[in-house]
């Protein structure tokens, strides 16, 4: 299952849906929102997506990993919009006959999601905010443009 949603994610439900007698292993990964950035207190996170392409790329990641490992099934669910601290932003579930492939595949899926899926995370902290991974986009002049 591939899902992009504004609603809270329910990992138990997603995991239960992946159980089958053909599997010896089901690995679930939860990405959760952290409360600090370089010593600053993060108040909340805001996720934005290019939705059509994000769904397409999530499906591409699912297919790529499914082909690489011997797996029964994969679910990748990403939350977008406002996500409070401590909530779940990403659920990846991998079901496989064997645990080794399930662990490896799960890690690789998370890496690929972070590399190619057009979703952006903004950390909002006291006195400002920034888009994660956009450090190379800071201007080096005194009239620096910050995404505040």
């Amino acid at each position: 299952m591939i899902q992009l949603t504004l609603d809270p994610l329910n990992p138990e439900e997603i995991t239960t849906g992946m159980r089958s007698n053909a599997n010896g292993a089901v690995v679930t990964f939860l990405g959760t929102t952290r409360d600090s950035f370089e010593g600053k207190k993060v108040l909340r996170l805001e996720y934005e997506a290019y939705e059509d392409m994000a769904i397409k790329k999530l499906e591409e990641v699912r297919q790529e990993i499914q082909d690489e490992f011997t797996l029964e099934d994969i679910s990748i669910c990403h939350r977008i919009g406002l996500v409070e601290i401590g909530e779940i932003s990403l659920v990846v579930v991998v079901a496989s006959p064997h645990r080794k492939e399930a662990f490896l595949a799960c890690q690789k899926i998370v890496d690929r999601v972070k590399e190619i899926v057009p979703i952006w995370k903004k950390e909002v902290f006291e006195g400002g905010s920034h888009w994660v991974s956009c450090e190379d986009h800071e201007f080096e002049t005194p009239t620096s443009q910050h995404s505040v």
Binding site: G31, Y47, E48, A49, Y50, D52, M53, A54, K56, H78, S89, L90, V110, V113, K114, E115, I116, V117, P118, I119, W120, K121, K122, W131, V132, S133, C134, D136, H137, E138, F139, E140, Q145, S147
Partner: protein
């Protein structure tokens, strides 16, 4: 000339101040020429030294790809899902 509607996301959307903007380009313009025009119109969108990633019709595009009227062209800042 052809009209291309550009869509900005996240950091680019905030810096440009809007989600969509239409640009006029000669027929058979490339992605690279499109980016040059965007950089000219919005110099504060990204520093000149960084590469700007473009998606055409929901797929990552190469600088030499040709654009066509009606293409869905999006400017993709560094992604940070998860």
């Amino acid at each position: 000339m052809m009209k291309i509607e550009a869509t900005f996301f996240a950091l680019y959307r905030e810096r440009v101040g809007k989600r969509k903007h239409t640009v006029q380009l000669p027929e058979n313009s490339t992605v690279s020429e499109f980016v040059s025009q965007i950089r000219q119109q919005f110099p504060l969108m990204a520093p000149p030294e960084v590469n700007i990633v473009v998606a055409v019709n929901a797929e990552y595009a190469d600088p030499g790809d040709l654009l066509h009227e009606g293409d869905d062209v999006c400017l993709i800042p560094p992604v940070s899902g998860g």
